[in-house]
């Protein structure tokens, strides 16, 4: 029941908000706050319902072979917690800033949240595609919501590339259906290995191309910096923190279930794309003058880190990837919110002009410093731990190149984050106006605290044990199949 609610509740908010606007306009402020709180709680509850064991919902009571199933296992649960936290924070930032004024924004926001939950819980290829498209349409709309020319161009670019990716995914799904006659992921993971090897290769190629475009991995990343930097602050944090992670979940789920034993080459491809993303993202970030574009290119590189973790195809690698996905959500979400606030204060996004902020906005600058130190990988913080575990997993799996790329990427990222920090701490003209920024500040500080806390997971065996069960559970395809095919 819970997985269904996680999709239906936020989606119904999307349709109720216009009615509230039409008939009870005075209640809109409180209503939206309440709606966001309820969807946050429902998503968390869904995650916990799937943590103890597989929580499978058969829609309409049909069995897996005939109907649609929603499955929550530990991998989904981890990403559900991530989605709930990230979108909750993005909601607080935008609500603290605008209240319920742009009510259409919240309609799209809740649709996005519902589609994200849908992707995370679905156990069916075609439903995955449908949720993927709802999610992408909401994301295109959120990117172009401000209607500035940058936002519209970025939105169009995102739309064209995202749609190409979606049709590759649909093509792969069509081939899967033609090869096996089934679309349920559990059934497919049994029946797909019997398909001819060439068919499997084509299916793997179509799905991986589509998902890489949606993720924004290096060779097809060019929509990502535009989309993530042109959107408004809260949306940038949401896109970099959560939306990308949901795509990574889809990639991990599909590749682990279908290609782990039959096509190990798929994992080699994921690792190589990850290495390319690390190096390409960091090198491109080095050249940027615009702070939000720099952060967006850094996102490309961090996606690369997570992809190398997924590409190991081992329990340790998946665990490290999920751990780093959490780290990146906190780090990049906080960095985008801070960068958005500071650049709005200074009315420029050029790094060399963001001077003198330490004297006038000490709180934000200190939070930014902690987050930047975390993302570079200074030892006690979570970025270091994430990279450490990724490196261990890569070396264990025999991917020496990706471990080296991780190390090289850290050095490059230190260069450009130090450039921002030196600009922020140098003396300069104070920003002109002061306005209350209560929620953005709170959210950033909370994220920075989480960065410190997650860095201490190595000293908290229960927490780390919880993380490592995610990897083993994700690799345990027989248990997944048994849970879904039970009748």
């Amino acid at each position: 029941m819970m997985p269904v609610l996680a999709v239906i509740v936020p989606m119904s908010w999307g349709f109720i908000i216009p009615l509230v606007y039409l008939f009870r306009r005075k209640l809109l402020d409180q209503a939206i706050l309440l709606f966001a709180f309820i969807s946050f709680m429902v998503t968390l509850a869904t995650a916990f319902s799937g943590w103890q064991g597989y929580n499978v919902a058969f829609l309409g009571g049909w069995s897996a072979g005939l109907g649609i199933v929603f499955v929550v296992d530990k991998l989904s649960a981890a990403f559900l917690v991530l989605a709930a936290t990230g979108s909750g924070a993005a909601f607080l930032v935008s609500y603290g800033r605008f209240r319920a004024d742009p009510w259409r924004y919240y309609v799209i926001f809740f649709l996005l949240q519902s589609a994200m939950n849908g992707i995370l819980v679905t156990g069916d290829m075609f439903t995955l595609f449908v949720f993927y498209e709802i999610f992408s349409l909401a994301a295109y709309l959120l990117v172009s919501f401000t209607m500035s020319w940058q936002a519209i161009e970025a939105g169009l670019k995102y739309l064209v590339l995202g749609t190409i990716g979606a049709f590759f995914i649909l093509l792969g799904t069509a081939y899967i259906f033609m090869a096996t006659g089934a679309l349920n992921m559990a059934i497919l993971s049994v029946s797909l290995p019997q398909a001819p090897p060439e068919t499997l290769t084509v299916i793997a190629a179509c799905l991986l191309i589509g998902l890489f475009i949606k993720i924004g991995a290096f060779p097809v990343h060019f929509w990502l910096p535009d989309a993530h930097s042109s959107a408004q602050t809260a949306v940038s944090a949401l896109l970099s923190g959560v939306v990308v992670k949901v795509s990574i979940y889809a990639l991990a789920r599909v590749s682990l279930l279908f290609f782990l034993e039959t096509r190990p080459a798929a994992f080699t491809v994921i690792t190589s794309i990850g290495i390319l993303s690390i190096l390409g993202g960091h090198l491109m970030a080095l050249r940027q003058e615009d702070i939000k574009r720099l952060l967006a290119f850094s996102t490309v590189a961090q996606i690369g880190y997570i992809l190398t973790g997924v590409g190991t195809g081992t329990a340790a690698g998946i665990t490290a990837a999920v751990f780093h996905a959490f780290n990146h959500m906190f780090m990049k979400g906080g960095l985008f919110i801070t960068a958005g606030q500071l650049s709005e204060d200074m009315k420029t996004r050029n790094i060399s002009q963001l001077r003198g902020l330490y004297r006038h906005r000490p709180g934000f600058v200190i939070a930014f410093t902690v987050l930047a130190a975390a993302i570079v990988g200074i030892p006690p913080l979570n970025g270091f731990m994430g990279k450490w575990y990724l490196m261990l997993a890569s070396v264990d799996a025999g991917n020496i190149v990706s471990a080296l790329a991780l190390a090289a990427g850290t050095v490059i990222s230190a260069f450009y984050y130090l450039r921002i920090l030196s600009s922020l701490y140098s003396p300069g003209v104070p920003p002109s106006r002061r306005k209350p920024f209560y929620w953005p500040f709170r959210v950033t500080v909370t994220f920075a605290v989480f960065c410190v806390l997650l860095g201490l997971t190595a000293f908290m065996p229960p927490v780390w044990k919880a993380f490592s069960t995610i990897g083993t559970c994700a690799l345990d395809t027989t248990a997944y199949i048994a849970a879904v095919l039970v009748e």
């Binding site: 161009e153 190409i164 049709f167 649909l170 033609m178």
Partner: protein
């Protein structure tokens, strides 16, 4: 015969991809998206076809074609239509600002 239709679908898919990659006119890009979409839909619909099959309606006389791909196609058509509609809306917004739909003249976000 079925094989030929599969090949046709992939050929059309490639035409759509080529259109998007090579054309500088934004409307042609959107048309390319629509072509890609219809190619995939064609593939799905043909996959459910059985030579000599009848429509899957009761009472059935003979072998019926598989109705499942047709349901998928309907869903995918709706999704594709919303994609194209949003793309056209954004193109119109861009045209209002630049007075052109030529990608080379739209300075835009590069690098």
């Amino acid at each position: 015969m079925i094989k030929l239709s599969y090949a046709t679908a992939i050929f059309i898919f490639c035409i759509g991809l080529y259109t998007i990659i090579s054309k500088r006119n934004l409307f042609k890009t959107v048309i390319g998206l629509a072509i890609m979409e219809s190619a995939v839909l064609l593939l799905i619909v043909t996959s459910g076809y059985i030579p000599g099959g009848v429509p899957p309606l009761l009472p059935m006389n003979g072998v019926a074609v598989n109705p499942l791909p047709q349901a998928f196609t309907l869903t995918a058509i709706v999704i594709g239509a919303s994609d194209v509609a949003l793309a056209l809306a954004l193109v119109i917004k861009l045209h209002r600002r630049y007075g052109t739909v030529d990608l080379d003249k739209i300075r835009g976000l590069r690098g």
